[in-house]
Point group: C2
Chain length 158, copies 2
């Protein structure tokens, strides 16, 4: 079972690929698609879309895990993130990849056992769970791995 | 000069294609891409994306006109609309179609001369400007034509 976690954003889309073998998780690969501000929004979206397609082709995940729509932000941020999320979901649909969603609260509880965990605590747990030498950078990458780990725990419980 | 106006939405994405010849505008074609609620979000986005690609292929516009990110809404709506807007902008980028944006205020002023115009007034003016027999339905289609007309006026002024 291979899980691709994605944390969408127009400037940075974090991604992390996790493999479950028996009860062991390993991080297969992870990174961040970055787009610079001086490109038009449509070109930035095209880069994100092509980036995710390439990652799906390379990592061959069985499922794509992404955060639920979030509501604790302003409309402008939500619209900008929504655009990035849209092209990522499109790539999943075109690759016939099932999509699973988790709320930020579910992710924090799954990874740290605590719904109010801070970014640093999530990062530390991701490092431990995935036997990494350091906490992945930037935060978007760690967040993507955290979403993938959440799906891995949820899958194991089933 | 052929202008494609688009009013993005997950359930209904209105579109309208306008032709400018000398000082005359004609509506070339218009309609609405509808997706039903019982499909997954990613499949709905795929239908919108394929729909817009097909319209670009058929209508061969020189420019795509779309509303600016709007801020007077809640974050949930903004995120949902953002996803649809994302796949439409992606289609434009892939077809190397320039994108131009207008605020709802610019659209109302361009079409009716009045920034607080109601939907009905916008619809009446669109019917008159484009020599249509009736106001196009649903509202999303009229809104898409209104965005295209706004770009047509702005283009004529230049």
């Amino acid at each position: 079972m291979q899980i691709l976690g994605v944390d969408p954003g127009i400037g940075r889309t974090g991604w992390g690929s996790i493999k479950i073998q028996s009860s062991h998780f390993t991080s297969h690969n992870f990174g961040c698609i970055e787009t610079v501000k001086d490109l038009s929004i449509e070109v930035r979206l095209e880069r994100i879309y092509q980036g995710i397609l390439a990652i799906i082709n390379t990592e061959k995940p069985d499922v794509l895990a992404i955060e639920e729509l979030f509501f604790n932000t302003n409309a402008k941020t939500a619209m900008v993130v929504g655009q990035a999320r849209g092209v990522i979901l499109l790539a999943a649909a075109q690759k016939q990849l099932p999509v699973t969603v988790y709320t930020p609260l579910q992710v924090k509880i799954a990874v740290t056992g605590y719904g109010r965990a801070e970014k640093r605590q999530v990062g530390q747990m991701i490092k431990t769970i995935l036997h990494l030498e350091t906490i992945p950078k930037p935060d978007d990458t760690t967040d993507a791995l955290a979403i993938a780990v959440t799906h891995a725990f949820s899958y194991k419980m089933k």
